[in-house]
Symmetry: C2
Subunit: 510 residues, 2 copies
C-alpha cells in the first residue's frame, strides 16, 4: 500500500508554506510581546505582504502541480491511483484540498487588505481599550466588518454568511447547529445559576484581590506548567496584553500571560489554559508539521485542550489537594490561615461578571452566547458598528444582570474583532463540551486519574491526550475524533453533568 | 529633472525585498534573545528558506524588469534617459545594480546552504563557548570556511579571495589597502602602548569587578541611551550572549547587551556602542528604507557611529563630568568615595587583555590585526581549522604578550565565524579611524560640543550625525562621504592624534 512517502512533492510545498506561516506567527508574537510602538506601521505592511505570500503559496502553481498529481483540483476527488492508499495519505490529500479550495476562493487582494487593516487595528484596539474610547476603534472595526462580509461572499454559504466565517475556525459548523445547542445549554444553565445564587454557601474571592507579588505569581505559573509537562526546552512564556499561544513548530511553542498584581488567579489560570493549548502544539508530530497530519483539527478541539486543563483539572478538588500547599508556601502571608474548603469554593465562585476571560465555568457560556448573537447581528443584519456598545451593554444586562460602566470592561475587552476573527467565539463553548466529554473518557481509561492528579502527577493525563488526540493531527474530523476517542458523537450532557455534580457539591443544593 | 518618483516600480521591489530581509532579521534576533533551545533545528531550516526567498527576490524577474527599465543589466550602465536624472536617483540605480550584480554571482543553492550551516553552527558555538570545547565547533567551522571559499570564487577577485569576502562588508576595500594601513597604525600604536606601560600612573579597575546589581546596571544603560536620544518608542534593548543591533525598520531598532554582575563597564559601554549603531538606523530616512537611499553605507561607517559614541564620547572626560555623579547615585556603596580622576583613569586603563570586546581603545586594534591575519591564513593559505586555537594563542602572545588559558577566552570568544562573517573584523578598526575623523570635524562645526557633552546635552552631536551622515543613506560611497563631511579623505592621523593626546594627558608622558 502506498503511504505518505509517495507524497514528497506535496509535503515539501506544504512545509515551505508553513515556514511563511510560522514567520507570520513570529511577526505577530513579537508585535504583542516586544515590538516598540513606533514599529506598528511598518509591521502592518510587512504582515500584509507576508500574508499575501502565504496565500500565493497555498494556491500557486507549485501547489497546484503537487496536488493535481493525485486529485482533481476542481472537485477534490482523488485520482484512481490515490484511492487505494493508506488512510493518513488520503486524509492528507483530502484536508490539503480543503485548504486549497478554501484559499482559492479568496482573492490575494482581499487577504492582503484584511491583513493590513487588522494589523493596524490591533494597535488601535490596545490604545482604545487603555483609554476606554470605543470611538477610536470604531472606524477600524467598521472597515474590518465590511471586509469580513466581503470574505463571506467570496467563500460562499447556504444559509448565513456567518456560517462561511465560522467554517474557518470550526470546519463544518453552522448557525443552524449552534442555535439549538446553545438553547439546550441555556435551558440547563439558567436554573443552575439560580440554584447557586440561592445557596447559603458563598464564594468569597476578596482573598485573591490583594497584592500578590507578580514575580512570585509568574514563577508559580511556571511550576504548574512544568508539572503539566509543558516542555520549556521547546517553548516559553512571555507577557502580553491578551494571553495567547503561538506555535512556530512543535519544538517552539510560545505561551503568553498577563499578570495582575491584584489578582492571584487571572494569570495562573491563563497559564494553565495556554499551557493546554501549548501541549497540543508540542504534541503534534514534528515530522508532519505544516501538513494536515501535523496540524490541530479545529479551534473547538484546540479549546477543549485548554479548557480541560484550566477547568476540569485546574479548578478541581484533586488538583488543589496537591497544589494548595505549594501555593501556600509561595504566598504564606496570604494563604497560611486559609482553609482548603474556603479556598476551593473561592476559586469556583459563580457570579455574573463583566470580563469573559475572568468569568467562571458556568456563566462563561453566557458571555459566549452574547457574542454569538451580536456577531450574527453584525454579519447577518448589518447592525451599525456605532451601536455596538449599547447593544453589548443591553445584552449583558439581560443575560447576566449587570451592565458595564466602561467600554473597556464591555465591548472593547476582547482582542478578536481587531483581528477580524468573527465566528471564533462559539468555539470556546464547543471547547467546553469537548473537554468534558474527553475528560470523562480519560477517567474511564485511567481509573487512577484523580488519584494521580491529587498527587501532582499530571503525566498520565498528558500522555493520554498525546496518544488519543495530539499525535493524530487533523487526520480525523472533530466528529470522527470524538467517536474514535469516546465511542459516540459530541453530546452536551457530559458538560452539564460535570457542572451540576461539581457545583452541587460545592454549593450544597439537591 | 526626473527624480526618485520615476522609480516607483523599482522602489516597490526593493521595499518588498526589505520585508523579507527584516523578517530574517527578526528570526535571527528572536533566535538570540528568546527562542527556546529546542527550536534551533526548525529555525535553521526556516532561515535558510527565507534567505533563499530573499536572494531570489534580489535577482528574480521582477527585479530584472524593474532595473532594466533604466540600466543595462550586464554592465550597470545607465540608459540614456536615466543619465540626466537627479543625483539621488542615479545613486539609487548605481547601488541597486551593485547589489543585484553581487547577488547574481551567488547561486541560490550556495546562499541556502550557508544559511542552514550558519544557523546550526550558531547554537553549537554558544554551547562550545559555554563548555570551552573548540572540538564541538570545529566541524561546523570547517564546513563554513569551505562554503566561504566557494563564495569568494563565485564572487570573483583580482588579488585575494579575502578581498571578495571583505567587499561584502566594506565595498571596495582590499587586502592591499588594509595591510599598509594596519602597518602604519602598528608603528605608532606599539610605542604608545610602551609609553603607557612605563607610566607611573596605573589604572586600577578592580573597582569595576565587584558585584553591581544587574537591574541597576541595565537601568543606567537605559538612562544613557535616553540621553543619547536613542528613541525607545522606535526601538528597545534586550539581553543576548553577544551584543548586537538589528534594525527591522527605522521605527523598530533592536539593541542587545550582556550584563555581567561583576563588571560595571562591560554592559554599559556595549549599550552605548550599540546605541550608536541604533541611532544610525533610526536616523535613516524611513521613506527610502529598503533602498540604497535608506541603508547604511558600509560596516566601517556603521562602526564609526558606535565607536564615536562608545569611545570619543563615552570614554571622554566631558561625558563623565556629567555622568559620574549620576552613576555614583546609582551605586553609592561602590562609588561614593571614589575620586573623579581615579575613575576617569580607570575607565581608560590600557592593558593587554584576552577579550576583544572588553579591551581598551589602544590595544583593541591589535585584536583586530590578529584576526585579520588569521582570517587571511584561513582563506588565502588553507590553514586547517584544527590548528586555530594554537595559532590564535601564539598570536595573542606575540601581539599582546598574553596567552589565553581557555578557548572560550580565545578563539571561541567571537560570534562572527559561526555566522560565516569572514572579512568583517577589519571594519572595526576602520570604524575607529572614521570615528576620530568625524568627531574632529564635529568639534570644528560645533564649537560648544564638549561643553554640551559635559552638561549631558548630547542632542547637538546626535543631530549633527543625523544631518551629515544618517539621513544620506548610501547615496555616497564612504570615500565620498568622508570628503563631503570633512573636506578630505580618510586619514589615520586623526585617530592616532586623538589617542596620543588623550592618553598623554592621562598617563602623563611627553
Amino acid at each position: 500500500m502506498k503511504t505518505i512517502k509517495n507524497l514528497q512533492n506535496l509535503m515539501r510545498v506544504l512545509q515551505d508554506t508553513q515556514k511563511l506561516t510560522s514567520a507570520i506567527a513570529l511577526l505577530s508574537w513579537d508585535q504583542e510581546c516586544y515590538m516598540p510602538k513606533g514599529g506598528g506601521e511598518a509591521r502592518a505592511a510587512q504582515m500584509s505582504y507576508f500574508k499575501g505570500l502565504e496565500h500565493e503559496s497555498r494556491i500557486g502553481d507549485t501547489m497546484k502541480r503537487a496536488l493535481s498529481e493525485w486529485l482533481d483540483l476542481e472537485t477534490g476527488e482523488l485520482l484512481t491511483e490515490a484511492t487505494a492508499w493508506d488512510a493518513p495519505s488520503q486524509a492528507l490529500l483530502r484536508e490539503t484540498w480543503r485548504d486549497y479550495h478554501h484559499a482559492t476562493r479568496l482573492p490575494s487582494d482581499c487577504v492582503r487588505t484584511l491583513g493590513l487593516e487588522t494589523s493596524l487595528a490591533h494597535q488601535v484596539w490596545i490604545d482604545a481599550r487603555k483609554q476606554n474610547n470605543f470611538a477610536l476603534f470604531a472606524p477600524h472595526l467598521k472597515r474590518i466588518v465590511a471586509l469580513k462580509k466581503q470574505e463571506a461572499d467570496y467563500l460562499g454559504y447556504t444559509d448565513s454568511p456567518y456560517d462561511a466565517l465560522m467554517d474557518e475556525y470550526e470546519p463544518g459548523m453552522t448557525v443552524a447547529q449552534i442555535v439549538p445547542l446553545f438553547e439546550a445549554l441555556k435551558t440547563k444553565l439558567v436554573p443552575l445559576v439560580e440554584k447557586i445564587g440561592q445557596s447559603s454557601i458563598s464564594a468569597d474571592d476578596t482573598l485573591f484581590r490583594q497584592y500578590y507579588d507578580p514575580k512570585r505569581q509568574w514563577d508559580f505559573g511556571l511550576t504548574v506548567l512544568s508539572a503539566m509537562h509543558f516542555d520549556m526546552e521547546n517553548g516559553r512564556q512571555d507577557h502580553s496584553v491578551h494571553p495567547f499561544t503561538s506555535a512556530f513548530h512543535p519544538t517552539d511553542v510560545r505561551l503568553t500571560t498577563r499578570v495582575d498584581p491584584h489578582d492571584l488567579l487571572s494569570s495562573l489560570f491563563s497559564s494553565i489554559h495556554e499551557g493546554g493549548h501549548g501541549l497540543y502544539e508540542q504534541g503534534l508530530p514534528s515530522e508532519y508539521f505544516g501538513t494536515a497530519l501535523g496540524t490541530s483539527i479545529s479551534l473547538g478541539i484546540h479549546e477543549s485542550q485548554s479548557r480541560l486543563w484550566e477547568n476540569n483539572v485546574g479548578r478541581s478538588r484533586a488538583f488543589w489537594t496537591y497544589f494548595f500547599p505549594k501555593l501556600g508556601a509561595v504566598f504564606p502571608e496570604h494563604l497560611k490561615q486559609v482553609d482548603f474548603e474556603v479556598f476551593y469554593t473561592a476559586i469556583n465562585g459563580v457570579r455574573p461578571s463583566l470580563i469573559r476571560v475572568e468569568s467562571d465555568e458556568v456563566t462563561y457560556n453566557l458571555h459566549i452566547m452574547l457574542r454569538f448573537e451580536i456577531e450574527r447581528m453584525i454579519i447577518e443584519e448589518d447592525l451599525p458598528v456605532e451601536d455596538l456598545p449599547e447593544v453589548w451593554n443591553d445584552k449583558m444586562e439581560s443575560y447576566l444582570g449587570i451592565r458595564p460602566e466602561t467600554d473597556a470592561d464591555g465591548v472593547l475587552q476582547d482582542v478578536h474583532w481587531s483581528g477580524g476573527a468573527f465566528g471564533y467565539f462559539p468555539t470556546y463553548t464547543l471547547g467546553n463540551l469537548y473537554a468534558a466529554q474527553f475528560f470523562h473518557q480519560a477517567k474511564q481509561d485511567l481509573p487512577d486519574l484523580e488519584d494521580h492528579i491529587s498527587q501532582g502527577k499530571l503525566l498520565p493525563l498528558k500522555s493520554w491526550l498525546n496518544e488519543n488526540i495530539h499525535r493524530l493531527g487533523r487526520q480525523y474530523s472533530s466528529d470522527q475524533l470524538v467517536r474514535r476517542v469516546c465511542g459516540e458523537l459530541l453530546k452536551p450532557d457530559y458538560f452539564m453533568t460535570y457542572l451540576e455534580e461539581k457545583f452541587k457539591a460545592i454549593y450544597r443544593f439537591s
